[in-house]
């Protein structure tokens, strides 16, 4: 009872409501694409791209742009397109390319911040960008609206391209051979992912984005057997875990990002157990 009172008290503050709205939307978007990414063996692209976004943010901070979205989003989209361009003639393959860009961007970003930063609390700034510790609680109304609009676009795009995304994920050569324009859909997937990651940096910071992308998808894949049910379950699970994580962190004052990820881990363990039991019963 006491908890509920405390909760309703916190909800009178707009920043708590904003955090919840943004959290739910971002986790919904990231989980939708998560299934595709995990299956395409691109689990780590979230990590790689978020480090790129971190590097871009460092540049934006140094240049002194007030709205760093203008520089962060394009750079991240370009990198996503380059990484997902799984052409046969790419010299550096998937995981190596992701690792290279990820580490490279992280190092360059930190370097730039270190050399040019005017802030007195440098390690605090870096920590905030990496773990997103409080930025979700300091969202402005404009940022919330931006997030809502972008999320709607992502969800709509996913809905309309669902069948095509399935084809491109399951068997790219077959789709291409039978006349599907796989390059375009790969491009769309890459752009959507970049948008999600830039959005999600506010929520959990760049180190933990991978968790939002892959945990719900992996959990859903333990329990369900069709692509549609896995996608739906992943979305529901992700929204549930993020809401719970945000509420817990508000109530107990824990860091938002890591709390959400902790809840995701618990959900993953539960799903694995449920999947094992259900599988055992069927056999």
């Amino acid at each position: 009872m006491e908890l509920l009172e405390k909760l309703s008290f916190y909800f009178t503050y707009p920043f708590v409501r904003y955090a919840l709205i943004v959290g739910v939307l971002i986790s919904l978007c990231s989980s939708l694409l998560g299934v595709t990414l995990v299956l395409k063996r691109f689990s780590f692209i979230g990590d790689g791209l978020s480090h790129v976004a971190f590097g871009a943010m460092a540049i934006a901070a140094v240049v002194g742009l007030t709205n760093d979205m203008l520089i962060v989003l394009p750079i991240t989209i370009v990198c996503a397109v380059l990484l997902l361009r799984t052409g046969q003639n790419t010299k550096i393959k998937g995981d190596a390319a992701v690792a290279m860009i990820s580490v490279g961007a992280l190092a360059i970003g930190y370097l730039i911040m270190n050399i040019f930063s005017t802030s007195s609390n440098l390690s605090g700034d870096v920590c905030t960008t990496l773990f997103g510790s409080t930025s979700i609680l300091t969202l402005t109304k404009t940022e919330v609206w931006l997030c809502i609009v972008l999320s709607l676009i992502v969800v709509a795009a996913f809905f309309f391209f669902y069948n095509k995304i399935f084809c491109v994920t399951f068997d790219e050569s077959f789709s291409k051979a039978t006349g599907t324009k796989t390059e375009i859909y790969n491009l769309i997937i890459a752009v959507i992912i970049a948008v999600i990651i830039v959005l999600a940096m506010n929520l959990v910071g760049s180190l933990l984005i991978s968790a939002l992308v892959i945990f719900p998808a992996l959990s859903a894949m333990r329990m369900f057997k069709s692509f549609k049910s896995v996608t739906v379950c992943s979305a529901v699970l992700s929204v549930f875990c993020s809401s719970l994580g945000i509420l817990v962190s508000v109530l107990f004052g824990t860091p938002v990002g890591s709390t959400i990820v902790a809840v995701d881990i618990v959900a993953f363990i539960c799903s694995t157990v449920i999947g094992k039991i259900a599988g055992g019963v069927r056999k």
């Binding site: 309309f160 069948n163 399935f166 077959f174 789709s175 039978t178 599907t180 057997k225 692509f227 549609k228």
Partner: protein, 232 residues
């Protein structure tokens, strides 16, 4: 009568290295062509080129007799991604219709009906709601064959359709392919198995150090079987 598929002076390779030089062959409707050759002789490269996944170094591939280049159904070898893919048989078979969709986001009733019919044709109706990753190798091949049938009514390209299957299932698979061929679908099969190629195919294309193209009878008369008969 024009050929469904004509390869004219085709040179294949990648990274500028040529592995096949001046390849010429034609396939007419209803034929069953088996492409044989050692590993590395360029079988897969040839297949990718026919499917339009790769550009030939020179020469051309022409389609005719009412076949357009994206109407070639394709039974690929399984990839690692597919081994643990969470999707039901119906979902996968239906995805074969995607090529015809263009920009349209959803499948039509006819396409869904077609998927159901092809599932039935492959004798896997009882598996329609099952998850692909739980099926046996032979069942998975049937699923992919049903998907390929959704993409074409005219020509199928099979890439080592029986690799990894046990002898009994292999025979069933060859039988199934033969039935489809008798129903009027042109078959191009890539195979290691020259014995079976001679048993089922109407034409043989042997690529490697020596290139041979002709009917099965010509191939046997040419001594192709005796020189390569040991390789199975």
């Amino acid at each position: 009568m024009t050929a469904q598929l004509t390869c004219r002076n085709l040179c294949l390779g990648y990274d500028g290295k040529e592995i096949l030089h001046n390849l010429n062959f034609e396939i007419y409707a209803g034929e069953y062509l088996c492409i044989v050759g050692e590993n590395g002789s360029g079988k897969s490269t040839l297949m990718k080129t026919v499917l339009g996944l790769q550009k030939p170094l020179s020469g051309e591939i022409l389609t005719g007799d009412g076949l357009s280049s994206n109407e070639i159904g394709y039974l690929p070898q399984q990839t690692i991604v597919q081994k643990d893919f969470p999707a039901t048989v119906s979902e996968i078979v239906l995805s074969g219709c995607q090529g015809a969709c263009g920009i349209r986001p959803f499948y039509t009733k006819e396409e869904k009906k077609r998927a159901v019919e092809n599932i039935e044709k492959m004798g896997i109706t009882h598996l329609a709601k099952r998850c692909y990753r739980e099926l046996s190798g032979g069942q998975q091949q049937r699923v992919l064959l049903a998907r390929a049938l959704c993409a074409t009514k005219k020509m199928l390209l099979l890439d080592e359709p029986v690799s990894g299957l046990d002898p009994k299932v292999t025979e069933e698979m060859y039988g199934l392919i033969q039935t489809l061929n008798k129903d009027g679908i042109t078959m191009i099969m890539i195979s290691h198995d020259i014995g079976s190629a001679l048993k089922y195919a109407s034409h043989i294309l042997h690529i490697g150090k020596t290139v041979f193209y002709g009917t099965k009878e010509e191939y046997v008369a040419n001594g192709g079987f005796t020189t390569n008969g040991g390789e199975r």
